[in-house]
């Protein structure tokens, strides 16, 4: 009794398999296979806000690319995102890369925080899986000789150098009112690395670094730090930390009536944030920041800003950096004419992507770092964020020092 049933099952299975095999080339011909891309960010945990902003940027880019007809060199193949959550820890980020590799993604875009990027790029390197770093400012990310790792935006070394050079220009132009500096930074790779760089370089420009203060994430109270600030009375305060701590610090400074000649941030978490400016206009007023920023004269950047704001989101650097990183990948797929990992890596190596609105010019990757990437200097003036340096992008003249 059982033999015929088995045979029938086998028959059905075999027919099914044959039918699928026959049908798929037809489907394949009508609709090219989508390119799977890992979109990896810390969307839960301590860095969730930034991670979600990044993800939004990536998804908006994918929407635009697909709407415009997908990857033309691949017959209009659509980009299919595979979303991953790094849970704000390097270990979870690594696990997601493993999963994405198993799922057969062609590339990974992510993973926001320096410490997470350090881990995810390394995990992806094992499989020669191309990894475009969207933010991750620590320079170690691109200094380990990983062939698969490409960073589109500038690292903290570049940001700190530009910030310092410009500080000196501003201070000299104002008659050198500022001589002493206090640095306040968060304790992870990004804050510590930036602070060390600044503390090392500032004396060379003739500034005395009075104190460097490190704090944890989260820090619940900044009164002590501000008390020390009061005692030290520095001309310039340089914060390098994430949004929450930056906002609390500046608010506490306002409460304690500490008014340095300038709050001059390097990659400040809230310094060039529309959210901060909207919520605390008084505290934000006058703050200078050297940070990732878009070309304010490029209409496309303002169009994207409008679209992001229409979704009730803030147009933060996370959004436009990841948006552009995803567009870089789409451009690379056009150049590579293939979704093959090795082809993508070599197309990135020679990429001259210029169809974007960041002030970088065409891309040129040197050891994985986009050589033209640069931060812009912004200042909060009249409840808006204006570019003050360099001249090519300037929207307003810098106010330095804040109080004469």
């Amino acid at each position: 009794m059982s033999a015929p049933t088995l045979n029938r099952r086998r028959f059905v299975a075999q027919t099914g398999a044959a039918a699928t095999a026959l049908a798929f080339p037809l489907v394949g011909g009508a609709q090219p296979k989508p390119v799977r891309v890992g979109v990896l960010h810390p969307v839960t945990g301590a860095l969730a806000y930034s991670g979600q902003q990044c993800r939004e940027g990536a998804l908006m880019a994918i929407e635009d690319i697909n709407k415009a007809g997908g990857i033309k060199a691949l017959g209009g193949a659509k980009i299919e995102p595979l979303l991953g959550d790094a849970q704000s820890t390097p270990a979870a980020g690594t696990a997601e890369v493993e999963k994405m590799n198993e799922a057969g993604v062609s590339a990974v875009v992510g993973a926001y925080a320096s410490a997470i990027c350090l881990a995810t790029t390394q995990a992806a390197a094992k499989y020669n899986l191309p990894h475009i770093v969207d933010v991750g400012v620590a320079d170690q990310i691109v200094e380990r000789g990983l062939k698969n790792t490409f960073r589109f935006a500038p690292g903290y070394k570049k940001c700190a150098e530009i910030a310092l050079a410009n500080l000196h220009v501003l201070n000299t132009a104002a008659g050198k009112p500022a001589k002493t500096v206090m640095i306040i930074h968060e304790e992870s790779l990004f804050g510590t690395g930036t602070a060390n760089l600044l503390a090392r370089e500032l004396p060379g420009y003739g500034y005395e670094v009075k104190e460097v203060i490190k704090h944890a994430n989260p820090t619940r109270d900044f009164n002590n730090i501000v008390l020390r600030m009061k005692a030290v009375n520095p001309d310039i305060v340089i914060p390098a930390n994430y949004y929450n701590e930056y906002a609390l610090l500046v608010r506490t400074m306002q409460q304690q009536k500490v008014e340095p000649k300038a709050i001059y941030s390097v990659l400040g978490g809230a310094a060039s944030s529309y959210k901060f400016v909207k919520e605390f206009p008084q505290a934000a007023n006058g703050i200078i920041d050297c940070n990732h920023w878009f070309n304010p004269r490029d209409k496309r950047s303002l169009d994207l800003k409008k679209r992001v704001e229409a979704k009730n989101l803030f147009y933060s650097y996370e959004v436009f950096l990841t948006y552009t990183a995803m567009r870089l990948l789409a451009d690379t797929l056009e150049r590579a004419k293939s979704a093959d990992r090795a082809a993508i890596v070599s197309a990135l190596e020679t990429s001259t992507f210029s169809d974007h609105f960041l002030p970088y010019g065409p891309t040129k990757f040197v050891n994985g770092q986009n050589a033209g990437a640069q931060p812009l200097m912004t200042q909060v003036l009249d409840n808006d964020i204006k570019v003050i340096v360099p001249r090519d992008y300037r929207q307003a003249d810098p106010v330095f020092p804040l109080k004469a």
Partner: protein, 290 residues
């Protein structure tokens, strides 16, 4: 570093920060100290309360201090229902189950918040958010001063409930001898739920005092929970005076630790103190032996 102009403000600042810790710990000392429920969801409940205060302000324009009444009531009812409807039922009276249930609750609550409110950090601005009062050389933020007073009043009210009311006597009876309490006609399940409700109501108050000077996001509770547990053990399990003084003490130790050891090592002082107390006075500063 020992300059009065810095030391005095640092101590005052520690006291006001400690008051907020104490507010969070007061609810916990009732739940953990008296009823021996290890409530891992305490931080998540604080987070929910903070969101409550935030939305009352955003949508109804209700000042955080005026929100005290509805928030305390809301958190009490929520806590009562949570204990009676979920924690009690799911744990079947076993301590290790309670541990897991409250841990699970905290994960669920945190992720609900993440789903509903996104991970956006939100803060409110009131007329007094940035206002300060000068006390000698120190500038103390008005919201922190209010929180300090709030912590004193809240612990007085709690003390009165536990010492001066029938409910308080029932709570103490249940804490001492559950079966005996049941034998003399006390509804133990009701008392458990009432205590849990009161514990969470404290968080409602804490949220109202905290938000004007702080922020809320789905992870915000985590920063307070470990400190609150430390305070409860330090002050003596179930002692309200212990929770209040323990909170203030920890605030000052953290503040001075930050001043001397650097801000990211400030908490080291807390745990050194904690270890010392456990070594030499294991029942806590205000606890009774046995």
């Amino acid at each position: 570093m020992l300059d009065f102009g810095i030391l005095f403000p640092a101590v005052l600042n520690g006291l006001t920060t400690g008051a907020v810790y104490a507010l969070v710990a007061l609810g916990l000392t009732l739940i953990y100290g008296v009823l021996h429920i290890i409530n891992f969801a305490h931080g998540a409940a604080l987070m929910m309360a903070l969101y409550g205060v935030y939305f009352l302000k955003q949508f109804l324009g209700l000042d955080p201090y005026l929100a005290l009444l509805p928030m305390v009531a809301l958190m009490f009812v929520g806590g009562y229902a949570l204990q009676r409807g979920i924690i009690n039922r799911a744990s079947h009276g076993k301590d290790e189950n309670i541990l897991l249930v409250t841990l699970g609750l905290s994960i669920v609550l945190e992720n609900i918040a993440l789903l509903a409110f996104k991970s956006d950090t939100r803060s409110i601005e009131t007329a007094y958010t940035l206002a300060t009062v000068a006390i000698g050389p120190a500038m103390i933020a008005v919201p922190k001063l209010v929180a300090f007073a709030g912590a004193l009043v809240t612990s007085a009210v709690l003390l009165w409930i536990v010492r001066g009311t029938d409910l308080g006597r029932a709570i103490r009876a249940v804490a001492r001898e559950k079966h005996g309490a049941r034998l003399v006609g006390i509804d133990v399940d009701h008392v458990y739920a009432m205590s849990f409700g009161i514990g969470l109501a404290c968080l409602g108050a804490a949220a109202c005092f905290l938000l004007p000077a702080y922020y809320v996001n789905p992870q915000v509770g985590n920063g307070f929970v470990l400190v609150a547990f430390t305070i409860v053990v330090l002050g003596g399990m179930g002692s309200f005076a212990g929770a209040l003084l323990g909170g203030l003490l920890i605030g000052v130790v953290e503040s001075l630790g930050g001043l001397w050891f650097g801000e990211s090592l400030g908490q080291i002082g807390i745990f050194l103190l904690f270890i010392a107390v456990l070594l030499f006075r294991p029942q806590g500063l205000f606890g009774t032996k046995g």
